[in-house]
C-alpha cells in the first residue's frame, strides 16, 4: 500500500490511473521512492512500467492520482514541468537526434544564448565539458550521435538529464543494449550518482539487474500495483513469481542436440553496411541440421548485415551455401524456395503487413504456390482453412482473429503468426532474429520451445539475439560475433556470461580458459554421441579446435578481464555458470538420462501405436 506523504521520499505517486481510449494501461498504481536510493520497477513487457514513468515525466497525463516530489504535491503537465521539478529520464529507445552532435543533443531545449535567440555553441560546449568532468562521464562533445557507441549514447542521455539539474533520474531498460562490461560501468555511474545525493529509478524486467543494483523494488503486473519489497532477502524466483503471477521456468529445458549434415555454410563472407564500409568481414560459420547455433553479440557488430546477406536483401562477397548450393547474391525468393525461413527481428517492419488480415498474413510466402493461387487466382478457401489451422495450432488469440487486421493483435500473437507461418514452410534452415523481442515471459518460453521443437525435427536453426541469456539458454553452440566476424564458438554450457561478454566486447581468452572450454565441450559432445549412437561425434567435436584456430590475435582490449568485486554478486542462475568440469559432467549425464528415458517412452508409444494399427 502507499506510504504516507513525507519529505523523505523523492517521488511518490499515489493511485495513478491512465487510460488510452477504452484501454486501461494503469489502474490505481502506487510508487514511493526514498531519496538517495536506487529503486527498480519490475514488470513484464506491457505491464505499464514505461507508462507510469512517462506519467511521472509529464509525457502522459494521469487520468487519476497524485504525484508528490519531496513531499510536495506537484502537477506535471509536460516534460518542462518535470525538468523544473528535477526529474530527468533516459528512455529505452534513446531520444537522440542522430545527425546532431553530442553537445547539440545535450543542450537542446535549454541552450545558452547570445542575444535573444542566437545560439552560443562555444558556451554550450564548455558547459558540457564542465559536467562531464564533474561526474566523470566520458563523452566526445563534437561527434555526431550516429558515429558513437551505444554506451556513449547512453551517457549522453544521462548527461542530458544532469545538464538540466536532475535530482531524480529515471532509466528505462538501461541495460538492454549494453555489453556486460558496459553494464558494470553503468552500475558504477549509478552508484556515483546516488553517493552524490541523486535518486535513481530503473525500469527493468531483468531480475538479475535488480539484485545487482537496487535497494528497493516495486512490482507492477498488467497495469496494477502488486507490491514494494526491499531487494535484500528476496530471491529471484520470488520476484519472478510476483512479476508474472505464477511460477515460471527460468531455464530452458532441452535435451542435447544431435547434429546432422551441414545445412548452412558461410565461407569468407564480406558485407558492406549503409555507409559502404565492410560490416561483415571474412565471416565463416556452419549450421548443421538438428542444432541451434546462436549468434551472440552486441548490436551493430554485423548481425544485421549478416542476416541481410543470407536473406539476399543485400549483395555480398564470399559464399553462402544452403545444403551445398550457392544462394548468395540471388534474391530473397531464391533462398525461400530453397528451404530457408526467417523470423525477422522487427515484426512490424519485416514480418507482417499490418494492414492485411491475419488470413492474408499467413500466406506471405505460400501465396505464390499453385496450391494457394492456382492459375494466378488466390484460393481464398484454401487460405482460410490453412490460416485457421495455424491459428489453432499456435493458439493465436483471439481465436476469431482470422479476418481481422494483423495490426490489431498483441505483439505475442503477431509473433506466433510469423513463427507458425515460417515453420509451415517446412524449412531446412530456420533463422530467428530477436524472436522474443518485446514479448512477455510466458510468450518467450513458448517461442523457445518452438525453436527447440524444430531443431529436434532436424531443422538447422540460426538464432541471432542481443539477449545474452536467450542465446546461452537456447543454443547448442554459441558463436560470438564481433566487428563483423565470428570471434569464438562455444559449445552449450561451456561458458559463463562474463567470459562471453568479454569476447563480445572484442577481448580474447587466456589459454587456460580455452583449455577448460575445450574439455567441457568434449564432455558435452561425448555425452551427445552416446545418447544418439547413430550420429558420429566427429563434426561437433572438431568445433572447439576450429574455434581455436580462428582465434584472432586481439590483445589490446585487456582491461576489462578482471571482474570487479561488487558486481560478482550477480547470482549464478542458470546451469553452467560455474566453470567446473565435474559439475558439467554431472549435468550432462543427468540430461542424457532424461533424454534416454524419453526415447524409451517414445519407442513404447510407437510400439503401442503399431500394435493398435495391427
Amino acid at each position: 500500500m502507499a506510504a504516507e506523504v513525507s519529505s523523505k521520499y523523492a517521488v511518490q505517486m499515489h493511485g495513478i490511473t491512465k487510460r488510452f481510449g477504452s484501454f486501461y494501461a494503469l489502474t490505481d498504481v502506487n510508487l514511493d521512492v526514498e531519496r538517495g536510493t536506487i529503486h527498480s520497477i519490475l514488470g513484464e513487457n506491457g505491464a505499464g512500467k514505461s507508462t507510469l514513468m512517462n506519467v511521472l515525466y509529464g509525457l502522459y497525463q494521469a487520468d487519476e492520482g497524485d504525484i508528490y516530489i519531496n513531499g510536495k504535491k506537484v502537477n506535471i503537465k509536460n516534460p518542462t514541468a518535470a525538468i523544473e521539478n528535477g526529474i530527468g529520464m533516459v528512455h529505452q529507445h534513446f531520444m537522440l537526434v542522430e545527425n546532431f552532435t553530442v553537445t547539440q543533443n545535450i543542450v537542446l531545449g535549454s541552450e545558452p544564448t547570445r542575444g535573444p535567440i542566437g545560439l552560443n555553441m562555444r558556451k554550450a560546449r564548455q558547459n558540457v565539458l564542465d559536467i562531464v568532468k564533474k561526474y566523470g562521464l566520458d563523452v566526445e562533445p563534437d561527434k555526431l550521435i550516429r558515429d558513437i557507441s551505444v554506451g556513449m549514447q547512453q551517457r549522453v542521455e544521462i548527461l542530458k538529464a544532469l545538464y538540466r539539474g536532475a535530482e531524480i533520474l529515471i532509466l528505462d531498460e538501461p541495460t538492454a543494449v549494453l555489453t556486460e562490461q558496459e553494464i558494470d560501468e553503468l552500475l558504477g555511474i549509478m552508484k556515483n550518482l546516488v553517493n552524490d545525493g541523486k535518486t535513481i529509478i530503473i525500469i527493468t524486467h531483468k531480475l538479475k539487474e535488480i539484485q545487482a543494483s537496487s535497494d528497493t523494488c516495486t512490482i507492477i503486473r498488467r497495469g496494477k500495483y502488486i507490491g514494494t519489497v526491499p531487494v535484500k532477502g528476496v530471491s529471484e524466483d520470488d520476484l519472478a513469481t510476483m512479476m508474472v503471477g505464477r511460477a515460471v521456468q527460468l531455464v530452458v529445458d532441452k535435451p542435447p542436440a544431435s547434429p546432422g549434415d551441414v545445412v548452412l555454410d558461410i565461407q569468407n563472407l564480406y558485407v558492406k553496411n549503409e555507409q559502404g564500409i565492410d560490416a561483415v568481414k571474412d565471416l565463416n560459420l556452419q549450421v548443421r541440421a538438428g542444432e541451434i547455433v546462436g549468434i551472440a553479440g552486441i548490436d551493430g557488430n554485423g548481425q544485421q548485415e549478416l542476416m541481410e546477406a543470407v536473406n539476399n536483401l543485400k549483395k555480398c562477397k564470399g559464399r553462402i551455401l544452403l545444403c551445398g548450393e550457392e544462394i548468395q547474391n540471388k534474391n530473397p525468393k531464391y533462398g525461400i524456395d530453397h528451404g530457408m525461413a526467417t523470423i525477422p527481428a522487427d515484426r512490424h517492419k519485416d514480418g507482417l503487413v499490418l494492414g492485411f488480415s491475419v488470413y492474408e498474413n499467413t500466406i506471405m510466402e505460400k501465396y505464390r504456390t499453385e496450391e494457394f493461387s492456382p492459375g494466378g487466382r488466390i484460393n481464398r478457401k484454401k487460405m482460410r482453412s490453412f490460416a485457421e489451422e495455424l491459428i489453432k495450432a499456435y493458439d493465436v488469440r483471439p481465436e476469431d482473429c482470422g479476418p481481422k487486421l494483423a495490426g490489431g493483435l498483441s505483439g505475442g500473437n503477431q509473433q506466433k503468426i510469423i513463427i507458425g507461418r515460417e515453420i509451415a514452410q517446412e524449412p531446412k534452415l530456420l533463422i530467428a532474429i530477436q524472436p522474443t523481442r518485446g514479448l512477455d515471459v510466458g510468450a518467450i518460453e513458448n517461442v523457445h520451445k518452438m525453436l527447440i521443437r524444430e531443431r529436434d525435427k532436424g531443422v538447422a536453426v540460426l538464432l541471432i539475439s542481443f539477449e545474452l541469456d536467450e542465446v546461452m539458454n537456447v543454443s547448442d553452440r554459441i558463436a560470438v560475433i564481433y566487428d563483423g566476424h565470428i570471434q569464438q564458438i562455444f559449445p552449450h554450457g561451456t561458458v559463463d556470461n562474463r567470459t562471453l561478454g568479454r569476447v563480445m566486447a572484442g577481448g580474447s581468452l587466456e589459454e587456460a580458459e580455452l583449455e577448460q572450454i575445450r574439455k567441457a565441450g568434449d564432455a558435452n559432445t561425448a555425452a551427445g554421441a552416446e545418447a544418439e549412437p547413430e550420429t558420429s561425434a566427429g563434426p561437433a567435436a572438431e568445433e572447439p579446435a576450429e574455434a581455436e584456430a580462428e582465434e584472432p590475435v586481439a590483445s589490446a582490449a585487456e582491461e576489462p578481464t578482471e571482474p570487479e568485486p561488487e558486481t560478482s554478486t550477480v547470482p549464478a542462475a542458470d546451469g553452467g555458470v560455474e566453470l567446473q568440469n565435474t559439475e558439467q559432467m554431472k549435468e550432462t549425464l543427468a540430461q542424457m538420462q532424461k533424454s534416454l528415458a524419453e526415447l524409451q517412452k517414445q519407442i513404447e508409444n510407437m510400439q503401442k501405436a503399431l500394435a493398435g494399427m495391427q
Partner: protein, 391 residues
C-alpha cells in the same frame, strides 16, 4: 467496437459527411460573396440532375475523371501516389488522336488499336516513373510532376506539327469516325433514327443531344476488373503487400522493384484508357494546344481521395465530381455565382476526407468517456458500501 463507432467508421458514411460539410463551406463562401447560398446550391443540383440530358451529360463529363480516378486509386492501393496521372492522360490523348486520325480500319479493329496504343503509351510513361522510384529511389511525386509538364509541351508540339495540325484550328486532325465509341453515332443522325427517337423524348434528350458513349460502361467494367485483380489474384496480393509494407514484402520474397513498375504501369494504363475513350467518344474528338492543364488527371486524385481509393467508389465519386463540374457552368449562367466555387467545394470535400478518420476516434473517445463515468459511479458505489474498510 460499438455500433456507433462501426457506423462512423464506414467510408461511405464518412464521405457523405465530408460532402455535406463541403457544401456547407461553399454555402458560407457564397453567402459572404453576396449570393443566395440555398438557391445557388439548389440550382447547382438542378443543373446536374434536372433533366435526362443533364444526367447524360454528367455521365459523359465524368467518364475521363473516373478513369484517372481509378488509375490513382489503384496506385494508392499499391502504395504509390500517382500525381503524374495528368501527364499520362495527356500522353494518352495525344497518341490516341495521332493513331485515330491515321487509321482507316473496320470499327472494332480501329477502336482496339486506338485503345491499345493510348494505354501502352500511358503505361510506359507511368512505368518510367515507377522505374525511377524502384531503381533510384526518386519520389514518384517529383518525377510525376516533371513528366506532367513535359507531356503538356509534348502535346503542344505534336499539335503544331504540320503532319497532325489541322489548318485553321488550334488542334490536331480529329480521329476518324471508324474509331468512334459513341452509341450508334451514325444511326442517330439518319432519318430513321431521328424518327425513332422522336417517339421517346428521353432518348431524344440523351442519345440525340449528347455524345452517349461506351466509356462509362468500360469504366464500370474496369473498376470491377481492378477490384478483382487487387483482392483475388496473386499479382494483386503482391502489389498490395508492396504497397502496405515494402519491407515485409521484400522479406517474403516478392520482387518489390518489379511490383512498383507494374503497379505504375497499370495505373497509367487506366489513365490511357480514359484518354482513348475521351478522344473517341466525345466531340471534338481531338486535342488542342493547351495553355494550362485541363486537370483531368489532377481531378482523378480528388476522385480517388473522395472514394477512399475504392475502385467502385471511384465510379460514384467521379460522377459527383463530373456533375459538379457540369453543374457549375449552369450555376454561373443562372445565378451568376462564379463556377470556381466548384473547385472550392471539391477542395473542401477532399480536405474533410483527409480529416474524416478523426470521426471514429472522436466517437471512440466519447464512448470511453461514457464508460469511465459509469466506472466511476460504480466505484463510488463500492466505496460507499465498503467505506469503513478503506483507510
Amino acid at each position: 467496437m460499438s455500433l456507433r463507432k462501426r457506423f462512423f467508421s464506414n467510408p461511405f458514411v464518412l464521405t457523405i459527411i465530408a460532402i455535406v460539410l463541403g457544401f456547407c463551406v461553399a454555402g458560407l463562401i457564397l453567402l459572404a460573396a453576396g449570393y443566395p447560398p440555398v438557391e445557388s446550391i439548389r440550382t447547382l443540383v438542378q443543373s446536374m440532375i434536372g433533366r435526362p440530358k443533364d444526367i447524360s451529360s454528367v455521365i459523359i463529363r465524368s467518364t475521363p475523371i473516373i478513369f484517372t480516378g481509378l488509375g490513382v486509386a489503384f496506385a494508392i492501393k499499391t502504395g504509390l501516389f500517382n500525381i503524374g496521372a495528368e501527364g499520362q492522360y495527356v500522353m494518352g490523348c495525344v497518341v490516341a488522336t495521332m493513331v485515330g486520325s491515321m487509321l482507316d480500319f473496320p470499327k472494332p479493329v480501329a477502336i482496339l488499336m486506338v485503345v491499345i496504343s493510348a494505354m501502352l503509351i500511358s503505361a510506359l510513361y507511368a512505368g518510367f516513373v515507377g522505374l525511377l522510384k524502384a531503381q533510384l529511389g526518386i519520389h514518384e511525386v517529383i518525377s510525376g510532376i516533371m513528366l506532367n509538364w513535359i507531356s503538356l509541351y509534348f502535346s503542344n508540339w505534336i499539335c503544331g506539327l504540320d503532319f497532325f495540325h489541322k489548318p485553321g484550328t488550334i488542334g490536331m486532325y480529329p480521329v476518324n469516325p471508324c474509331t468512334y465509341t459513341m452509341i450508334l453515332p451514325a444511326w442517330k443522325r439518319t432519318e430513321a433514327g431521328e424518327a425513332f427517337m422522336e417517339q421517346y423524348p428521353v432518348l431524344k434528350e440523351t442519345l440525340g443531344r449528347t455524345d452517349v458513349n461506351a466509356g462509362f460502361l468500360v469504366a464500370v467494367i474496369a473498376a470491377l476488373i481492378i477490384t478483382h485483380l487487387l483482392n483475388r489474384t496473386r499479382k494483386g496480393y503482391e502489389l498490395r503487400a508492396v504497397g502496405q509494407n515494402i519491407h515485409a514484402a521484400r522479406f517474403a520474397g516478392i520482387n518489390v522493384n518489379r511490383s512498383i513498375v507494374h503497379a505504375m504501369m497499370i495505373s497509367g494504363a487506366l489513365c490511357g484508357l480514359g484518354a482513348a475513350f475521351y478522344v473517341t467518344g466525345q466531340s471534338p474528338h481531338t486535342v488542342s494546344t493547351l495553355s494550362a492543364f485541363e486537370n483531368v488527371g489532377f481531378n482523378g486524385l480528388s476522385v480517388a481521395f473522395i472514394a477512399f481509393s475504392s475502385p467502385i467508389g471511384c465510379l460514384f465519386a467521379g460522377l459527383l465530381f463530373g456533375g459538379l463540374l457540369y453543374g457549375g457552368a449552369g450555376l454561373q449562367s443562372k445565378v451568376g455565382a462564379p463556377t470556381e466555387i466548384i473547385n472550392i467545394v471539391i477542395g473542401v470535400i477532399v480536405f474533410f476526407c483527409a480529416l474524416s478518420y478523426l470521426i471514429p476516434r472522436f466517437v471512440d473517445r466519447r464512448d470511453a468517456a461514457r464508460l469511465s463515468k459509469k466506472r466511476k459511479k460504480q466505484m463510488q458505489k463500492e466505496m460507499k458500501k465498503g467505506g469503513s474498510n478503506v483507510n
